[in-house]
Each structure stands twice: as structure tokens, then as C-alpha cells.
Amino acid sequence: MSNAQGIGAAVKRKEDRRFLVGKGQYTDDVTLPNQSYAVFVRSPYGHAKVNGVDAKAALAAPGVLAVLTGADVAADGLGGIPCGWLVKSKDGSPMVEPPHPALAQGKVRHVGDPVAMVIASTKAAAKAAAALVEVDYEPLPAVGLLANAIVPGAPQVWDEAPGNVCFDWHIGDPATTDAAFAKAAHVVELDLVNNRVAPNPMEPRAANGNFDGANDQYTLYTTSQNPHLTRLLLAAFTLKVPEHKLRVIAPDVGGGFGSKIFHYAEELLVLWASRRVGRPVKWTSDRMEAFQTDAHGRDHISNAKLALDASGKFLGLRVHTYAAMGAYLSTFAPAVPTYLYATLLSGPYDFPAIYAEVKAIFTNTVAVDAYRGAGRPEATYLLERLVEKAARQLGMDRVELRRKNLIRADQFPYQTQVALQYDIGDYQATLDLALKEANYAGYAARAAASQANGKLRGFGMSTYIEACGIAPSALVGALGARAGLYEAANVRVHPTGSVTVFTGTHSHGQGHETTFAQLIADRLGVSTDQVEVVHGDTDRIPFGMGTYGSRSASVGGSAIVKALDKIVDKGKKIAAHLLEASVADIEFKDGQYRVVGTDRVKAFGEVAFAAYVPHNYPIETVEPGLEESAFYDPKNFTFPGGTHLVEVEIDPDTGVVEVASVTIADDVGVIINPMIVDGQAHGGLAQGIGQALLEEAVYDAEGQLTNGTYMGYCMPRAADLPNFKVGNHVTACTHNPLGIKGVGEVGAIGVPPAVINAVLDALAPLGVTDISMPATPEKVWRAIQAAKAGKGA
């Protein structure tokens, strides 16, 4: 480290102060002059015809400015909400891509589907008037559950999607996989459900749209993880005004976890409504609305078969998955159960053959799209439950079975049977580190102690891999992405040597203002206090694809590094002139340009000043100023991986599962700020444990969301979780300049199967062989009772 605040330093966060003193600026905190407020009238049915909307009483209510419906949306020519990824079926046909009008036209297809928008001068007036809007619904047969949607004769969400199939896709080689199973000594089979969860960032979504008619200019404040993508979709598809007339600002955003990636109808509607009523229009979701309208995550039903030889070596894997899409295709929905799920099914293992089929299915529910991990948790859960079952079925040690099949460190780069090529990793090292840190050797004694206390103790593990920084653009384009997946950065060195960095990534908790400042500090030798990181405003930042898929440091950081390289190179030319030396003889180190091998130096600040006050300057060959931009398009995904170990203690009388310990060892590549990296791991673990033990968004057969409040949906609370033991073993990513892989999602990906494997390990002596997520006390207690009854019979 060339700087005590540079790469590797646990620098305290620059952004903390404003949050701690209550001066964060979230979208709902922005109130514009002459502000008006929108409230939506939403479908209470999973599926219904809308025969009419009577807004007369609402329009007559005090303070009401307008009531807008699907007919107005159609009359004004607003575009439908587009899907950003086209997946083709096995037979080459494109996925069924139904229309998604911003306000319902003729039919509603999930609870929460917006039917009318009421705009009033106060939020209370809008709310009161919304209750006066009379919608004539004619309920239709609905299908709220994935399991029901795939049954012949199920109600149809879309006429154009027979059997509710959006696409029927596959990957891998069926013939080699069949051959692998034909010669297998053992076949292990598992049916699995990956439970539907709601992302639940603590800040509900909000949008504030302002149309400035005098300048024909639109401004949108929105809770977005990627304001440029929102602007692109608004410009090209929905609002249909050009980018230069459209400014999207995502100010402080209170968590996202995927759910704020997507372009939502409300973002379009507040801008459009502002044009209609001539005032800024603000909408803020309440929590119940968030449950009904934020895209959910997971919701898979799978069958998996693992073929092994007599020694326990993996020969092949065959997977069939049904993945719920919800009623409409959200921005990245089709990519999640395909390119972010099935391509990960080799895990960290050396598999000679894999074949996976994925059917995407419409249901009368809110959309399912990327949620922390997005596809990779589903792949990891399937694989690690299956491997654990194999160990039990074959009577092999769970650690040794994994160790035997892990890709060895000398096998990289490793080409999987499902398209990905892993550049580097050391899965044995993270396995060893985790086992050591968890004192695995002492487990038997801990289990005995639990037993002595009348508790059942279980140990569970998962060895996992994930893929971050989805790229390169040309590849994802060939796979159906309708956007590029590069990142942009602009580095502006000011005349007195301080620096402003404009990044196309977006921070909504990840600490970019600190991490990227450290990058600048490291490269330019300045203090992090001299660096300002700007994000979240399309008028200030050249371009960007935003933050998701753990891409900010590996992709966004690399773009910053490219821009910094240009700054340093330009500075060399200026320094060479000032030092009367040849450019080839100038080196830059620790914030100084030096004539190699001499004590002749110019500080970075002096060079910056010369660039802006070019009195003594190589003006014929070098432009004044010191500001550079760069775009970075990665060569490949990055591949973090590791081992997660969980111990649980179960009270057999109540079924309550206590998470006794969580020990993880990850390889997330080079770490800029270990404090922030550990914090990211902690948050992911909490969401992963939440999915495993507490959380499920439960629709009933008719598409009613039965637990869409915090009274019904069990969010992890402080007392539900233990402290986490987090370790790292670094192998540097080989294809980006920083060697970074990504950490945002590892916890949510690795830990759910480790939790369930631990629960099953604890219950195994009773004869329990399966339990589904979330393993609630009721479910565990029933499993114990059923096992006891079975044994007694």
C-alpha cells in the first residue's frame, strides 16, 4: 500500500456523517415547490377484467388535480414497460413477451397491478380520493402459485402463453449427461422448492417527477440502483423523450438488493402526470404496496439428479427447474433463472457432464426478478442440498466428498459444462480456512454439550461459487441482453490537486464514496478527504449501468482505474516538461513524479496546477486541464467462491432453530476496504439466513398475497441472528486491473443451504430427511412429530 488510506485500509466511511445526523437526502425527502402527490388505485384481485373506472366522485373531492387511467396512458401514447433480456426457447422461438402497460388496460393480472392514479395537492387528499375511485372488476380464474400454474388445465395468465410457459430453455449436453448417468454407480435425486422472498430494502420505493414546460425538460428523482438505465428505458421505450431532455437523479437510496434495478411504471407515470397537471408529482410507496409491487426473488421448483462413480466422484448433473416470472416480465427477469442460475450449476466442482432445463412460468403475482444473488443462490441451494444428500446416501464424509470433487487450484482456467470459464480460485484453501476458523474438530464435543441440554445440534456446510460483474457486453448481447454491461467513470483533478470522481455505479449502502476515494488515494497519493465521489445523477455523470450483481468495484472500479491511468500518463508529459526530462524517464509513485534515479520531483498537485495554469507547459503537444473519462467492458465475469459453515441448535419441543454459529471463508478477490467488505458479507448472510429460516412471500391459489406486511412477513431481527465469523483467502481476479471479484452477494448465495443442511443434520437422528425453506418452528416441529409417528408405526 502506497498510502495509509489506500487499497487494503479499513478507512471509516466518508458518507456516514450525513446519515448519522439525519441529513441523508432520500427521494421522499425531496419536496419541490408546488409539489403534488400521487396515490395509486391497485387491483385487489389476482386476475380480473376491468369493465370500467368511475372517477367522478374522486375528481370532485377536495384538492384533487387529476385521476388518470389506462385509457389516458393509451391516448397519450406512453410505451409499455419493456423487458431488458430476450431468452429463446430450445426450439429457437423467442420467449412470450406480453404487453405491460403502465396502468392496466382491460385486465389486471396481479394484486397491486395499478388501475388508476390519483393526483392531489396533498398526500392525504390523494389517499382519500383514491378510496372514491370505483373500479368495476370482473374476477377471472387466477393462478397464484407456481406449483398450480404448471398443471394441465391451469388458469391462463396470458392467452398467448399456453400452459403459462414464457420460455422453455436449456443448457449443457443431454447426450453426455445421459451417458454419465448410464455408467453411474450411484444416483442421488432431490426435489426442491426455492421459496419466494421479498427484497425489502428499508426505504420503500418513491418517485418524484417534474416537467418544466418552459424548457421542455423532465427531472425524475427516484429510488434507483441505476439511474442511467432508467433514463435509457424512459427515453427509448416508455416516456419517449430524448435523453438530453430527461434528468434522472437517484439521490441517497435506502438499500436495493436488486429490487431497485428495474424500471417501474411509477417512474414513468409521475413524469407523465407532472406534464398533465403542470406540477411536480411525488409518489411514495407504503410497505404494503412495496410487498405487492416490488419485484420478488427466487420462486423455483426443481428436480435434480447427481450421478457419482463408486468412489464418490461426480459424473454428471441433470436439473429440471420451473421458475416463476410473475404476471409481467420485469427488466432482467428472464436472465435470472437462465444465465445467472443454470450457468452456475457446476458450482465449485469438476463436473464432466451437466444438462439443465428451465421453464419460465407466468403466475398471477408480482414479477420475480433479481434479488441479492439472483439465480446464484438458487443454483447453490440446489447443488449443496444435493451434495449433502449424496454424502448421507453414500455414507461418505460431507467434507471429504466435497474435497474430492472441488476444482483443484491447478485446474484454472476451468471450463465448465455450462458455458462459464472460471479464471481463478482456490476452493480447498477457503474450505480449510473455514473448517479451522469454525473449530470443526471440536464439533462433536459441542454436539454432545447441546444434547446434554436437551437440544439437537446440527452442522451444515456449503462450498459455493458465484459469478459477478456480468459481462462482456458482446457475450451478454449474444445471450439476449438488450443493454451493454460496461461501466463508465470520469476523474476530474482540480487545479489545486483535489479530485472529483464521477461513477456510473450507484451506492445505496455499499460505501462507494469511501471505497472509490481509497482507490484515488492509492493511485494518486492524495488523502481520501481530497476526493469527492459523485454518483446517481444523469446530468453530472457521463453514463453508467449502475450497481447490481456485485459489479461496482470490479467493473466500476476498473473504469476509474482506466481513467486514472490516463491522468497519470498525461501528468507524466507535464512533469517531463517541468523537470526538463524525457517522458520515458518519468515515474509516478507515492504522489510524486520523479526523474528515475534522481531526486528531481514534482508533486502531483504541482502538475495539476500547471495543467490549469499552463504558463510553463508543453502546450504544442498536451492540452491544458486534467480530467479523463473511461469506459470499461470486462473480459469475463469474476468468480468469487468459498465455504460457509453453520451450526444450529434446535429445541425439539418447540421446533425453534437457533443459529449457534456462522463461519465463512470467502475469496472475493483483492479487497479495497476490509471493514466494508466484511459488512457486505454480514448483510448477505442475514438475508440468506432470513430466507432459510424466516422469510417467505406467501400467495394463495387465487393470487392473494397473504402476508404482505411486517406483521406477516418475518424479517430477520437482531435477536434472530448470531455474530458472524468472516474470513478471506484472496486469489486475485486475472482479468481486471484491480484483481477484484465482488462481495455484495456472497452471504445470500452461500449460506442458505448451509443452514438447511445444519437443520437436517440436527434432525437426522430422528429420521427427518427433508425440510423446505423457511424452516420455521412450526415446520420443524411438524417434521419432528411426523418422523416420530413414522418410527412408531
Binding site: 448519522l20 439525519g22 448483510g683 442475514a686 441472528l721
Partner: protein, 157 residues
């Protein structure tokens, strides 16, 4: 419309608001104190926690008119001068916040705990925070921060 008189962060304030106005709405919309957040509609998340006469209260669960004559402290009123309050400083020191949305409520709730219990155990902190949801941190660093902040508030520095 009732006229409400109360003290907010040490300043006497008068607010004209409807009977149905919640305390959090009065703070955010009438006084512009947007540091107090609304994260749910069922008094579960605690992002709106403020102090009413020194005790932590979920301001989404109290009518503004119920605060007549009360002394309210919000997150904006915690720090004095330029320095962070010890609990705020502890959250920064221990990385007890990420997106910052739950943070004001967490800090206000933690201060109330520290006033009642100078040296809370890990378990006591976790139990106390049952009314405050955080989706970012997994609580690990919040628990550390609250214990450290309680110590600092009670002269442990």
C-alpha cells in the same frame, strides 16, 4: 385545524396540523426534519424512532396532537456543536450503518437503551433492538456500535 405547541430539538415550535396527522408527518412535512424516516405502515420497522420526553417512541404510532407540550428530540437534535454524539460516533467507528435509512431510528433507540443500561450485554442489545429493522448490516456491527456507544455515553471513554 388544531395549533400544536411543543419543543423540538430544544426549540419551541408551533404547528398547524390536522387531528389525524401523525407525529412523524408533523416532523417530516411540517418542520422539514426529514432525518426521521418511514419504513413501514405497521409500527414494526422503527425507522421513525424519536425521543418524546426522553423516551424512544415510534413517531408513526403517535398522533402529533398527543405531543402537545412534549419535548421531542430527533436525530437532527442529537449532536451538539460540530461533534457527533457518542452513539453516532460509535456507529461510524464500528460500521454500524450501510444505506443509512434505518440508522436514525437505530441511533435514537440505542440512546434510550444506553440511558437505561450503561453496559448492555450483546444479548440485551439484540433484545432491545427487536423494534428496529435493518436490512443491510445483519446487525453484527450495529450490536458492536450500540455497546460501544453506551459505554462512551456513560463515561466509559
Amino acid at each position: 385545524m388544531p395549533k400544536l405547541t411543543l419543543s423540538v430539538n430544544g426549540q419551541p415550535r408551533t404547528i398547524d396540523c390536522a387531528n389525524a396527522t401523525l407525529l412523524v408527518e408533523a416532523l417530516r412535512e411540517h418542520l422539514g426534519l426529514t432525518g426521521t424516516h418511514v419504513g413501514c405502515d405497521s409500527s414494526q420497522c422503527g425507522a421513525c424512532t424519536v425521543h418524546v420526553d426522553g423516551r424512544s417512541v415510534k413517531s408513526c404510532t403517535m398522533l402529533a396532537v398527543e405531543a402537545e407540550g412534549a419535548a421531542i428530540t430527533t436525530i437532527e437534535g442529537l449532536a451538539t456543536g460540530g461533534a457527533l454524539h457518542p452513539m453516532q460516533a460509535a456507529f461510524k467507528e464500528h460500521h454500524g450503518l450501510q444505506c443509512g435509512f434505518c440508522t436514525p431510528g437505530m441511533v435514537m433507540s440505542a440512546c434510550d437503551l444506553a440511558a437505561r443500561n450503561a453496559a448492555p450485554s450483546e444479548g440485551e442489545v439484540r433484545q432491545w433492538l427487536e423494534g428496529n429493522l435493518c436490512r443491510c448490516t445483519g446487525y453484527h456491527n450495529i450490536v458492536k456500535a450500540v455497546r460501544a456507544g453506551a459505554g462512551d455515553m456513560n463515561g466509559g471513554k
